[in-house]
């Protein structure tokens, strides 16, 4: 973690898969189990940005967000949430949306 065209409006967006259908199918196949959301260190995202993201996405207060950010910075990763699959996926995609390095791990 770091310390411190013209005419495009009219272009059609690239088609994306029928995501809802895929999700529905795959979720039905999975048994219920716990998932942990892990954020990994990187050298581009800044400390204050990561703290901000933890607050926004995970609802941490500033103190807790800083503790997890420092864990990422010093230890290389931090488990920021343990949730059911659906919630863990939501966190994963939101954290990815901000550009953080994040993985999901099953607790089984």
């Amino acid at each position: 973690m770091k310390t411190s065209a013209q005419g495009f409006y009219t272009q059609a967006a690239t088609a994306v898969p029928d995501v809802k259908e895929r999700k529905k199918e795959s979720t039905q196949k999975q048994p219920a189990r716990g998932w942990i959301v892990v954020v990994w260190n990187d050298h581009i995202n800044t400390m204050s940005f990561v703290v901000h993201v933890f607050r926004k996405v995970l609802g941490f207060n500033t103190s807790k967000a800083r503790i997890h950010m420092m864990e990422v910075h010093v230890q290389g990763k931090s488990c920021v949430a343990k949730e059911n699959r659906e919630k863990a996926e939501l966190y994963w995609e939101q954290l990815k949306g901000y550009g953080l390095r994040v993985t999901l791990e099953s607790t089984d």
Partner: protein, 169 residues
């Protein structure tokens, strides 16, 4: 660049040069957001659409779903980006601009700016040691130019986060 809080958001006062740079950044990101992950340069794809951590956890069969989902999250920002460019284009070419960013657009703006930093880092192969290099010691070239822009965008991010955090703490 100056940033000040206004009711329900913040105001950016941009010089002619800053405004031109931001416009170019927004335009280039829009083009990249339109592309499917497989159409992107491998370095950029790995930076924005890395889902290996998901695949090893039993999501192999959902690869296409998640890639499509991450891309749609980005392409959905294009409308907002177009609106931002439209605001800046209302000012005569080369002149300073005033950009009022409402509260409900702040997070999207931070994501977009951060995507640009990640993009540049991937494109110019910026390593951790590069981020701490004394700027004047870097040889002229794409890496130095990318680092300059990465640090500029970082400063903008920091100002924004500081400004919006004042109300929250």
């Amino acid at each position: 660049m100056q940033l000040s809080k206004i009711k329900n958001g913040f105001r950016l006062l941009l010089s002619g040069m800053e405004r031109m740079v931001l416009e170019e950044i927004l335009k280039s990101l829009s083009l990249l957001y339109l592309k499917a992950p497989d159409e992107l340069d491998e370095r950029i794809r790995r930076q924005w659409y890395d889902i290996e951590g998901l695949l090893v956890s039993g999501y192999e069969h959902e690869r296409e779903y998640w890639l499509g989902h991450l891309q749609s999250m980005r392409s959905e920002r294009i409308g907002l980006i177009s609106a931002w460019i439209g605001i800046m284009e209302k000012f005569p070419p080369g002149s300073p601009a005033v950009w009022d960013v409402p509260e409900d657009q702040v997070e999207s703006l931070l994501m977009v700016f951060n995507d640009h930093r990640l993009y540049l880092a991937a494109w110019a192969d910026i390593q951790e040691e590069d981020m701490h290099m004394e700027f004047t010691k870097l040889p002229e070239g794409p890496k130095k130019e990318s680092l300059l822009m990465i640090h500029f965008m970082e400063a903008v991010q920091e100002w924004i986060i500081r400004a919006i955090s004042e109300d929250e703490d």
